[in-house]
Amino acid sequence: MAELIINGQMRLSQIIDRDKRALVLFARFGIDLGIGDKTVAGICRQKGIDLQFFLLMVNTFLNPDYFPDKQLKSVDTDMLIGYLVESHNYYLEERIPYLQLLIAKFKKNVDHPATAQLEKFFDQYIVEVKDHLAYEDETAFPYIAMISAYKKRADMPAGQIDYSVGVFEERHDNIQEKLSDLKNLLVKYFPPANDRYIRIRLLNELIDFEDDLINHARIEDKVLIPVVKQLEEQLKLI
């Protein structure tokens, strides 16, 4: 299937037919389903979503080769952070609790001493994910919001700021690696034990989450970091 660049004239239902991952993306923008044949441009106008920004997010998320070079200059960092925070909330409130539920069910169904360790492994992993997201929400994003506010007021920060997006870039480690370990354990090593369908459901969810995190990280690396670097240059912070 040739990669398709989503544009404003396309219908939302068309996009979902092509790629089911669009479902969670639309939800993050507050777009609910049951919208008939509405086009992207139509729904954006109705919901007050910036069309260019919406297209940038959708295309970067769905297509790993999409490189938003020209659009970067016009990206509004507040919108971007809003979108990223919304994704974090979705991970914390939807994805992770559902995975925990599936793992608990798997543990209940499978009589094997390693299931307890598997659950412990996932619990430790959740702590890491929460730390990772909390760092972004509490340190990196407030910094970005602050310098973006300076820019909008055509103002300059008075003193030295003890942070830069370079620090964020350096610390930005990958949090999907352990999911891949978990996936391999379930695909290759856990002995079969009356768990065929619960295991498939768990794997499906792990694979989707892993994919979601990879695409999310790509937006941070390819869009957020370059945009903020631009901003720092304009404000002469670096």
């Binding site: 307890a116 598997l118 492994f121 430790q124 992993y125 352990k178 354990l185 090593y189």
Partner: protein, 194 residues
């Protein structure tokens, strides 16, 4: 077409000796030599030897992988050995030439290699851990550091790291927490050990 052989051995005494002995057999049209492992890949690609004789001391992880791949093709690999090696390493070789081998024995070994049928290429990666790797995994799962593991097993920390890399490569599990789950599943450790 005449057969060719490439000899990779750092000791000049051993290398030249081997060339002289092999040269007297009239088995090979070309005998090539290397004194270190720096250009093995390019030499093998250029010379396309039928047999590669190499001292296992010159093997590095990346090179071993590369040779394992080559061996599944047309080239056969023999070790030239005069010290002790981990048994695991021998799985790379089709034949082992010992320093104490007689002329006749070396001749027979090389003839055997020339006539040996190449095994069909296997695509299944070897996932079974060696005894040593299991030892390392066991201690790792108990929470020991690389240094502590090296002290307990009387091996260098560098060797511990190599074992760990191989474990991760074979199992495709990168985190220690994930390796612990694997170790319990496969009864390398029990929950009580933790």
């Amino acid at each position: 077409m005449g057969k060719t052989i490439l000899i990779v051995e750092q000791s000049e005494l051993v290398r030249k000796g081997l060339i002289k002995v092999i040269g007297s057999f009239n088995l090979f049209a070309g005998i090539h030599e290397l004194a270190c492992n720096a250009n093995i890949e390019s030499s093998v690609i250029r010379l396309e030897p039928d047999i590669l004789v190499i001292n296992p001391m010159l093997l590095e992880p990346g090179l071993t992988e590369w040779l394992r791949d080559k061996r599944n093709g047309r080239m056969k690999i023999a070790a030239i050995v005069y010290t002790l090696f981990d048994d695991e390493l021998y799985s790379l070789f089709d034949e082992v030439i010992q320093i104490g081998d007689t002329r006749l024995k070396i001749n027979n070994k090389l003839k055997y290699l020339i006539n040996k049928q190449v095994e069909p290429k296997k695509h299944v990666p070897d996932e079974t851990l060696s005894k040593r790797e299991k030892d390392v995994l066991k201690l790792l799962a108990k929470g020991l550091s690389n240094k502590e593991i090296s002290e307990q097993l009387f091996i260098s920390p560098h060797t511990v790291i190599t074992h760990r890399k191989n474990i991760t490569r074979k199992l495709n599990i990168k985190s220690v927490a994930g390796l612990i789950v694997y170790a319990i599943i496969n009864e390398i450790i029990s929950v009580e050990d933790m």
